[in-house]
Symmetry: C2
């Protein structure tokens, strides 16, 4: 038997950490400033001569800049390796793809585990509260520093989709296309409730130490794992869980105890245990809070359409998944209605799938073809090779 | 302004704890035996001369025998005070209503916090694993001890509904009517997943002490509160959460911190904090496990209808709630299909409501009238005054 070894990914990659000096602080919605500011990022492909092929990819709650390259901690393929790559919808031969770690994150961008220059210790809970708009403001600084005045597209799923909406509201003049996947214009009560469970699980862990765990050389791993397990259920659909696991047992027969009897328990425990290796608990607190605070219309007098008034020249693509109960199709429809009311050109597709919210990471041919169709047509309109 | 004060509930109540001696053990599905066995129970109303008016009420995961009398710890009205009482569907003037605490519970029935006669200490994790069928077997012993050969009805919601199904399968000869509300014939992968999150939250709390917390004079309150918060979300619907709380803030403006900013957070924290005052963490582990193990068809060669073959004389009522996503209408339909296939007389009503799974505890006129209609007609058929 021959084991097929995939050829190494053959496209130009770059990236690292960009540091903005103390005299270029990031102004935050809370009124605080962040300086110095570091942003961890990766790029795939090359910027073309007329700088018209840049695509900004925005990540979800626990994502990072390693969208199409192996994760430095886990070694796993990038989280969007199904979308970014040769022959894929976002082909580095055509586009200059930029992915950055959000501020508040833990993969190179300034966040609660970064060193506070004032104290020489990790920020911990003295890190300022951040918002989706703050994340986007930092991305705008990065994109500008990379020499890109205008993005061919900004694209993202889940929290990434909320960043896309915020880009359209705050920097429409820098956008040609905007692709918002499996997102919502605001966090619902149920969304907030699930995040609050996760935060309470982390803060209940004595190793959290009031947020000061790094200084004590410990980490609230059990609390963070529980938070991840609860959240992970919301990323899948009931049908997908049933199809994948049903009531299948881990061994022959029941254990008559509290071991993982059912495969779904083992799977969930694994999701929790592997998450803590790659994610910082305080980052989880801050980023979930940024999501809970997200309510795009609230920044525009309560009228969502007003958020898009300056984006009439932007071509929008809104994609949702029929079995997504975290950010349901109804919420994407709210976005589409507002885009229509604002007079924006909008494509909207609800993808029929039982894979739930996380479908945009998964092998989902309908999603692939909808995304590819929009991008190819947009590239053609723009005259991109 | 006059404040109306409700008259005290005017019906006969009784109850206490019944103790079965060591020579009358409860045989458990696991193969273990429980002895001595204690069952905490309450009764409302009186048994009539021909012993034809007894109704067994089965409680849900965190319920107890105080269905229509104030909870001894919290002082709150019984959990089914909207259903049991003068002029209500289960009127103690007509019925002799029995409610017992399930085994594994913490309100007087033998459970993990009971003293193990072998050691003189609380059982903790040496308590044997229990099932829904075991709970029902204990109830059958209680009912018999109370001098009732045949129940006019067995009724319950959620886990109580699963007990109703198990009664119909295991003791059909002792039933006239069976009312199964907001239940399912088996626990789904998603149901198991949510329970596993709760169990992991409890077991992650260092005060759980490997289940031995009572001996150490501590309790895993934080873990249990997180478990309750996660579960509580599944008891409501997204629409109900949105209607009740939306994004309403606790104070004017955001705190820009991790205090409870949103009312839904305060509500959820309160649900967690108040739960730990009245519930034992190990009981939560054991009872959630019993639910996860529940798969009625599995005891009957995988064919659900076989469970009801001996129950053709029983009149069934199956009620579900349209917005219940814990045990959805589809799962009640599975029960109804099996009842039909077995040739049982079955009424089925899906109640239109946005109140979610917990609707059977709440002010829901459609539910009230469906339950009343079935009971009144059954009482008439039976010649009950």
């Amino acid at each position: 038997m021959t084991i097929a070894v995939e050829a190494p990914i053959a496209f130009e990659t770059g990236g690292g950490t960009i540091r903005f000096p103390a005299d270029r602080p990031l102004r935050l919605d809370s009124g605080a400033q962040l300086a110095p500011l570091e942003i961890g990022y990766q790029t795939y492909g090359a910027l073309n001569a007329d700088k018209s092929n840049a695509v900004l990819v925005c990540h979800a709650l626990t994502g990072d800049q390693y969208a199409a390259s192996p994760h430095p901690t886990t070694g796993k393929p990038g989280w969007w390796h199904r979308v970014i790559g040769p022959g894929l919808p976002l082909d580095p031969a055509r586009y200059f793809i930029i992915a950055s770690n959000v501020i508040g994150g833990c993969m190179g961008s300034t966040g609660p585990s970064s060193i506070d220059p004032k104290t020489g210790e990790a920020y911990g809970l003295s890190f300022p509260m951040i918002t989706i708009a703050d994340m986007v403001r930092a991305q705008a600084m990065l994109v500008e520093a990379l020499g890109v005045d205008k993005l061919f597209a900004v694209v993202g799923g889940s929290m990434g989709g909320m960043q896309v909406l915020r880009w359209a509201a705050d920097y429409p003049e820098r956008l040609v296309n905007a692709i918002c996947i499996a997102a919502a214009p605001r966090h619902s009560a149920q969304n907030i409730a699930f995040h609050e469970v996760g935060r309470q699980a982390i803060m209940a862990d004595p190793d959290w130490r009031g947020g000061d765990y790094l200084r004590h050389g410990v980490r609230p791993e059990k609390g963070l794992a529980v938070a991840r397990m609860a959240a992970h259920i919301t990323y899948l659909s009931e049908a997908a869980l049933q199809r994948k696991f049903g009531r299948e047992l881990q061994r022959d027969g029941l254990s008559w105890g509290f071991d993982a009897d059912f495969q779904v328990e083992t799977y969930l425990r694994h999701q929790g245990a592997s998450f803590v290796d790659r994610f910082d608990a305080n980052s989880y607190l801050y980023i979930t809070r940024a999501l809970d605070y997200f309510d795009l219309a609230a920044s525009f007098g309560g009228v969502l359409a007003e958020a898009f008034r300056r984006a009439r020249h932007v071509r929008f693509c809104v994609l949702s998944f029929s079995s997504d109960w975290l950010y349901s199709t109804a919420e994407s429809r709210d976005v589409v209605r507002a885009l229509n009311a604002a007079g924006c050109r909008t494509s909207f597709v609800e993808i029929e799938t039982d894979k739930g919210h996380d479908a945009f990471f998964l092998d989902e041919p309908q999603f692939d073809s909808a995304l590819r169709g929009f991008l190819d047509s947009a590239a053609h309109a723009q005259g991109l090779a």
